[in-house]
């Protein structure tokens, strides 16, 4: 029997080759991933396994199509004037309630993720809609990018659709039942805290300059301006609401149909140019994903994946938590779904004996943090594109503290799974819902008080300037 460390050699070769090509030879990340995968296969005595390289990439076929089409959709509704119009109306409607507006826009930004289970889709749709509004409120573009990236990730984990949890559940025969409340308890307070943490200071300091507000094209084009968005929502909701009647179109087709409507609903545009620019903008990350697919396949082929997984889940409990906190987001860099499947399932099995719903919920959120992890960093990268920041690390730097808090909260949620088990699955549902409604009421009151505090602060600032 060969030593387990035999699998280390190709893995080390792959990691070393990737680092050398990326940092020493300054090659694009995607090319470095392909090169590292080929080298790993050669070192493991597999030759150049073309079939494996292509098959690895095919694992991301759906994701690649979603990225390309969501990007086209986002660029077309940007060109039609829909994004500006919605941002304009959001700000004017909630001008005197800035803290409430921040929270509402955060929840709205999350909503696409909640329905589609994809942070990319959330960032490029509802995230793109609220981004101009956040910036018009005075929040710098990098922080705005961080907010919509976090919203995309939290939306992807919030119910009703949480794909990582479904993947983990599928691996341990745990049905997707009873996750609604545990996921809401985990994600909603974090969403409120994060948007206030990232946005409140900027909103407090700045009064809205109406001349800088995005323009509204509502008067010019009327209700037809909203048609692409309505089409998107209708197609998604129809499929979810009537799964046995409405066939699955698949997210790429839904985005494409909605994008195809856009050129006839608002400002004039050249759909071909818009689509071409959108795909060009998405191309680098699509190439990285293709490379990641190859890298993963060769890791599985040569045993590098098993080496990492077996090393991580064999740690004692204290270190196990640490390894969850570090390894799941790291592995999520290649794919949050992959992290949920490859690490989430063994981690749930290693933590059996406590409430698995709470554990899987927390693990799914930690895995989702991988969408902020370079080189792919899907959420951060697309958020940067939405706010037109060419260097996505500028956006990611503002995500560091929220992401750290999120991982910490998730670990705490897991460590206190016994308490949440007794509370959330309490037989006295009336008392449970009473406590939850009371808590929501308290949060709402606090946000309303924050509104007054922000406005007072603004008035005092203006007074001081006068």
């Amino acid at each position: 029997m060969s030593s387990p460390f035999a699998e280390m050699i190709p893995l080390l070769a792959m990691v070393g080759a990737f680092a050398a090509m990326t940092f020493a030879f300054k090659l694009p990340v995607s090319i470095s991933l392909v090169g590292a995968a080929i080298l790993g296969a050669l070192v493991a005595g597999q030759g150049v396994p073309l079939r494996h390289l292509v098959e690895g990439t095919l694992g991301y076929l759906d994701t690649l199509l979603i990225i390309a089409t969501a990007m086209i959709f986002m660029r077309t509704i940007q060109a039609s004037g829909l994004l500006d119009t919605i941002a304009h109306h959001l700000i004017t409607a909630f001008e005197r309630r800035p803290a409430s507006l921040l929270v509402l826009m955060m929840l709205f930004a999350m909503s696409a993720g909640m329905i589609t289970g994809s942070s990319t889709a959330a960032v490029l749709t509802t995230g793109a809609i609220v981004a101009p509004a956040f910036m018009a409120l005075g929040i710098p573009k990098n922080k705005t990018g961080a907010i919509i990236a976090m919203a995309g990730i939290l939306g992807m984990i919030a119910p009703p659709v949480n794909i990582p949890v479904m993947i983990i559940g599928g691996g341990v025969d745990m049905p997707y039942i009873g996750f609604g409340l545990p996921l809401l308890i985990l994600t909603l307070p974090l969403a409120v805290a994060i948007v206030l943490f990232l946005g409140l200071k900027s909103v407090r300091a700045t009064s809205i300059d109406r001349s800088l507000l995005p323009l509204s094209y509502h008067r010019q084009y009327g209700w037809k301006l909203y048609l692409p968005l309505v089409m998107l929502i209708v197609l998604i909701v129809l499929e979810r609401a009537f799964p046995r009647i409405v066939p699955s179109f698949g997210m790429p087709l839904v985005f494409m149909i909605s994008a195809l409507v856009a050129p006839w609903t608002g400002r004039k545009m050249n759909p071909w140019t818009v689509a071409r620019d959108a795909v060009q903008a998405a191309l680098p990350v699509m190439a990285i994903l293709a490379g990641v697919g190859m890298f993963l396949q060769i890791m599985a082929l040569t045993g590098g994946r098993g080496f990492i997984v077996s090393l991580l889940i064999g740690l004692p409990l204290g270190l196990l938590y640490l390894s969850i906190a570090v390894s799941m987001p790291l592995f999520g860099a290649v794919s949050a779904y992959g992290s949920a499947s490859i690490l989430g399932v063994p981690f749930v099995l290693a933590l059996l004996g406590t409430n698995e719903i709470i554990v899987a919920s927390a693990l799914s959120l930690i895995a989702a943090m991988g969408d902020l992890m370079p080189p792919t960093a899907l959420a951060g990268l697309f958020a940067a594109k939405v706010v037109e920041q060419p260097n996505y690390t500028q956006v990611l730097s503002h995500c560091l503290i929220p992401a750290g808090i999120t991982v910490g909260v998730s670990l705490g949620y897991m460590a206190t799974a016994g308490f949440w088990d007794r509370f959330l699955f309490w037989d006295n549902r009336l008392a449970l819902y009473g406590i939850l409604l009371g808590s929501i009421g308290l949060v709402c009151m606090s946000i309303l008080m924050l509104d007054h505090w922000v406005l007072r602060h603004r008035r005092e600032s203006v007074g001081a300037q006068l």
């Binding site: 699998e7 045993g303 098993g306």
Partner: protein, 384 residues
């Protein structure tokens, strides 16, 4: 406006296009090869064959239509059904069914065997798992190849996956499970291809009046339900008694009751939708696991993996795992002995018995190798 960066010329594009085209042309040969069914050689016990589309006509001509082998005894009796190859990445399941087709005989009642339940899933590999496309079993007359496929229906036959899959039993699952046959029961006549396949299998159970139905599987060693029989509540007594007798014979096996709230699986839906006694049998396959080392034909056939040995030492597994591993001989042997014992126990409780003879035991498969119970590659009566 930001200046456009120039990445190359039309010639660069043409070169890259030709390069990608060339690579795809080469690998398409490998991918297309998966669509050729490798032969099965029906033994003397097989009295007739049928296609699944005989039970549900719309399946005819689709990639999901698959062959059922019928072993009819001289004496009248009941009907048993063995389903292999639900998940083609669980090779002992399909191989045990093929051994029954090529070796077993029925003296009383009838045995229906499907070795490639999800035939479409045999035509592709699971992306990012690094699986080989075939594995080899040595027989007395040379090597014989078998397909190692995917857990789900080939996306070429059924695509796209929805974001979430709500199966015919109302269970919400991750979208990719839409192509998992063992999440699609009881199926739907107007559903997607996998649901139609599930429906056709349930129709076979109904139309053939199957008394006992056994679904063969394998699981990764870190999965809690392993070396086990999962039984619908109606079949729980038979499963428990069979497990007890198997323990007496030196084969450890657990019994699990089919969960009420885990819908779409064979052991739940077959039992609920029909009068059959529904059972599912699991064996340990390290090649499926997330902790496995190098993915290779040797791992599939010999079942030896140093990572799993270490994981077992740390108490992370639900099945013992030593240096000798869990070879395919052992896994197939376990399945065969479990099937034989389930039928034996069933026969004690009914007048409609099914007596199957020449089913190799675990010890005989371990002694001679599974290849000894397969017919030879030069046999002429092969079926695809």
């Amino acid at each position: 406006m930001t200046p456009q960066r120039k990445y190359g010329t039309w010639w660069t594009a043409l070169f890259l296009l030709l390069l990608v085209g060339g690579v795809l042309l080469i690998v398409s040969h490998d991918f297309l090869a998966m669509r050729v069914d490798l032969p099965i050689y029906p033994g003397l016990g097989v009295t007739s064959t049928a296609m699944l589309s005989d039970y549900f006509a719309p399946l005819k001509g689709t990639a999901a239509d698959t062959m059922a082998y019928i072993l009819q005894g001289d004496e009248p009796g009941g009907t048993a059904f063995v389903l292999g190859g639900t998940h083609p990445n669980e090779p002992a399941s399909s191989l045990a069914a093929i051994v029954l087709i090529e070796s077993a005989r029925v003296t009383r009642g009838r045995l229906v065997v499907i070795p490639r339940a999800n035939r479409s899933a045999f035509t592709c590999s699971e992306p990012q798992e690094g699986y080989p496309q075939t594995y080899t079993i040595e027989t007395a007359n040379g090597s014989r190849e078998f397909r190692y496929g995917s857990r789900g229906t080939n996306p070429v036959d059924q695509w796209p996956d929805p974001v979430i899959y709500i199966n015919a039993a109302g269970q919400s699952l991750a979208g990719s499970e839409v192509r998992n046959l063992n999440r699609s029961y009881p199926g739907s006549p107007d559903g997607n291809l996998t649901e139609q396949l599930a429906y056709a299998i349930v129709e076979l159970i109904r139309q053939e009046d199957v008394d006992m139905a056994i679904d063969l599987h394998e699981a990764s060693p870190e999965y809690p339900v392993i070396n086990a029989i999962v039984a619908h509540e109606d079949a729980l007594n038979i499963a428990a008694e069979a497990a007890m007798f198997l323990e007496f014979e030196g084969m450890q096996i657990g019994v699990e009751r089919s969960p009420d709230n885990l819908r779409g699986l064979s052991h739940r839906e077959w039992g609920d939708a029909t009068d059959t006694l529904a059972l599912l049998v699991e064996a340990p396959n390290p090649a499926q696991g997330r902790l496995r080392g190098r993915t290779s034909v040797e791992l599939i056939v010999e079942g030896i993996d140093p990572f799993y040995v270490r994981a077992a030492q740390r108490g992370l597994l639900y099945v013992p795992f030593f240096e000798a591993g869990h070879p395919i001989d052992e896994r197939v042997g376990r399945h065969l002995q479990t099937i034989a014992m389930l039928l034996e126990v069933y026969n004690e409780y009914t007048d409609k018995g099914v007596v199957v003879v020449d089913v190799p035991t675990l010890s005989s498969v371990l002694e001679h190798g599974v290849g000894a119970f397969l017919l030879q590659p030069n046999t002429t009566n092969a079926t695809n």
